[in-house]
């Protein structure tokens, strides 16, 4: 038996109204699941009360790892495995190592950041996208509210949304399978149904 996750989706046409609505709803204690905008909207993350992500720290960690690896690798090669004198300098001449150390630091932190981003956003091959409303990549701002995660009733939130200027308020539900986007299920689907456009597309 499949469990459904129910969302209330508010559609806004104007970013100013949408930000005011976000503030108003949060003031009433409504827990907003996510807001989708077709382009970056300034001050939105402040209004939603988002905390800074841990990505910069991950970047620093991967960068430090890259520095360490680069120095160890070069010291080992140039100093022990295949000692070589270049330009009359010693075997382990630190200035020579700086360019490669720099490059590996950048490489590690770039790849590490990309990897961290995929992990933190739960992006994986054939992840089924959760589309709340197709217009979220066109001209509308979409606010999704997870009903199970809120104390207020559906009607109350609906009223709040329309009050604060939502053009439409719709319901949207994903099955547990769709929400998690299980990769193995997707592969199984692929074998049973074959690749179709509709296999990647969600109802509604």
């Amino acid at each position: 038996m499949e469990k459904n996750t129910n969302y209330l989706v508010g559609v806004f046409g104007d970013e100013d109204i949408m930000i005011k609505a976000v503030k108003a709803l949060r003031k009433k204690g409504v827990n907003i699941y996510e807001v989708f905008t077709p382009y970056p909207v300034h001050f939105l993350e402040d209004a939603l009360g988002y905390k800074r992500s841990w990505m910069p720290k991950a970047a620093f960690g991967f960068g430090a790892l890259g520095t360490t690896c680069a120095i160890l690798l070069q010291s080992w090669i140039m100093g022990f495995e295949w000692p070589m004198i270049i330009g009359g300098k010693g075997f382990i001449a630190i200035p020579d190592f700086v360019p490669i150390t720099f490059e590996l630091t950048v490489l590690f932190s770039a790849f590490g950041m990309a990897g961290s981003f995929f992990v933190s956003q739960d992006l994986k091959p054939h992840k089924v996208p959760q589309i709340f409303d197709r217009r979220q990549s066109d001209d509308k701002h979409i606010m999704a509210i997870d009903l199970a995660n809120n104390k207020l009733s559906e009607e109350e939130i609906k009223a709040l949304l329309s009050e604060s200027g939502a053009e439409e308020v719709n319901n949207k539900s994903f099955t547990e399978k769709e929400k998690k986007g299980n990769f193995f299920d997707y592969v199984a689907d692929l074998f049973t149904n074959g690749v179709t456009d509709s296999a990647r597309e969600l109802k509604g």
Partner: protein
């Protein structure tokens, strides 16, 4: 967009230079004078005067003294650097002239760059950038006078007969450069560049002031300033490079680095950005620039962080190529600085103050948005780059007689005081925030 509620019509602020700030600026100058005089007395007492040289001989030879320049290498160091205490004073004046004129120029360059880049965020602090220009003519006069008085002390190539094959101190390498490095052409370039930079400063200032007065909502002034900025940037690109060869690289005439123009640009620019951040913070603490928020400071912090890395990148690129290539006449430049008990500690200090410190302190987003952090980093970076220019100029001119002591710090503070005085008094003439600028609203609503 969630607009910040600022009334654009009444955003104008009038800065008055006085009170505590004026007192502090003059205090810096006063302490500088005291330190400078003390340092000079120590230099006079501490000798630097070869006693076995007859005084008469000095009087006649002073004008053509070899002043302990790189020339000693060619002659196997037959005469141990003749050195007088006043030579160090001359070099200090040259150092300060070069450093502060460059900072003023690069601050003004940053202003022109904002027009060319069509950037909206810095409009609120554009006057903070524009007013750097006030020191350029003054610095030019200082440089000109210092050159006229002490060109032989600073520049080895100004000596008579250096390009003459029959002369006792003929130098083949300098003779090859004599078409470019000769006193009349040098003075021509110095005066020309200073005049043109000053002229551009004057014109751009006039346009932004005219924009203030025009309430018709036209973008005419903006477009005009953009075109003039483009012209300035083209001239600046060439003149800044030539300037860095003239003012600093030609001290070590035998040595050359092909990225020297960039390298000096990076040092001056990061100092100018540090000064800018400091000025914004000072003005805000005095109650001005109310519409400027931490987002603007964040952007200045990013520039400070980025240009610190850019400076380090160029510094290291220059070093690595010479280190690898191992060409004796080139490596001597770094040997002079790295194997000297006087200069080596300073040489490693600049790496800490100009790269490691700003890099690690300004790495996080929060640090760039905190006034206190930015203040500390800006002060350290300004001092670090002053030290860097001392390292560029002093070893080549004074050889082992130089150093970083009271006279350098004292004269630096005197010039800093003059620089700040001219800056703030310039800032008080006219509004603090450009009015009727087409991107003013964007700047007020700036968000990173």
């Amino acid at each position: 967009m969630a607009h910040v509620d600022v009334d654009l019509k009444n955003i104008q602020e009038q800065f008055t230079f006085g009170g505590k700030l004026k007192k502090n600026v003059l205090l810096i100058g006063g302490i500088g004078v005291v330190l400078f005089v003390l340092g000079t007395i120590f230099l006079m007492m501490g000798g630097g005067h070869d006693d076995h040289h007859a005084a008469v001989e000095h009087a006649t030879e002073v004008a053509s003294a070899h002043s302990g320049d790189a020339h000693g290498d060619a002659h196997g160091g037959e005469h141990h650097a003749e050195y007088h205490w006043w030579q160090r004073i001359i070099v200090d004046f040259w150092l300060n002239g070069v450093f502060f004129t460059g900072v003023a120029l690069l601050g003004f360059f940053f202003f022109a760059l904002q027009y060319v880049a069509n950037s909206g965020w810095p409009v609120l602090i554009k006057r903070v950038m524009l007013n750097f220009r006030h020191f350029i003519p003054v610095g030019g006069i200082v440089l000109l006078l210092t050159f006229l008085v002490g060109s032989h002390t600073i520049f080895h190539w100004t000596h008579d007969g250096i390009a003459d094959p029959n002369s006792s101190h003929y130098d083949a390498i300098i003779a090859g450069k004599v078409d470019f490095l000769n006193t009349p052409f040098f003075l021509f370039r110095l005066v020309l560049f200073i005049c043109v930079w000053t002229f551009f400063g004057f014109v751009l200032n006039k346009i932004t002031k005219a924009e203030d007065a025009d309430m018709s909502g036209t973008t005419k002034y903006f477009r005009k300033a953009q075109r003039i900025s483009v012209a300035f940037l083209i001239f600046f690109g060439i003149s800044e490079s030539v300037t860095s060869w003239d003012w600093v690289m030609s001290i070590d005439t035998h040595w050359y680095s092909t990225l020297f123009g960039w390298y000096l640009l990076a040092g001056w620019l990061v100092t100018a950005v540090a000064f800018m951040s400091l000025f914004v913070i000072i003005l805000q603490e005095m109650g001005y620039l109310k519409a400027v928020n931490e987002n603007h400071l964040h952007d200045l912090g990013k520039f400070l962080f980025g240009f610190s890395i850019f400076w380090s990148y160029l510094w290291f690129s220059q070093f690595l190529l010479i280190y690898y290539a191992n060409i004796p006449e080139e490596t001597i430049y770094f040997v002079d600085r790295l194997r000297s008990a006087t200069y080596a500690p300073l040489f490693f200090t600049i790496l800490i103050t100009n790269f490691i410190f700003p890099f690690f302190v300004l790495m996080t987003r929060d640090a760039k948005r905190k006034t206190m952090m930015m203040k500390i980093v800006a002060v350290v970076v300004i001092f670090g780059h002053f030290l860097e220019y001392a390292i560029l100029i002093i070893p080549g001119t004074l050889k082992e007689n130089g150093g970083f002591g009271l006279t350098e710090i004292g004269s630096g503070m005197i010039f800093l005081s003059i620089f700040l005085y001219l800056y703030f008094s310039g800032l008080s003439k006219g509004g603090l925030i450009p009015q009727n600028h087409p991107m003013l609203e964007e700047s007020v609503n700036h968000h990173t």
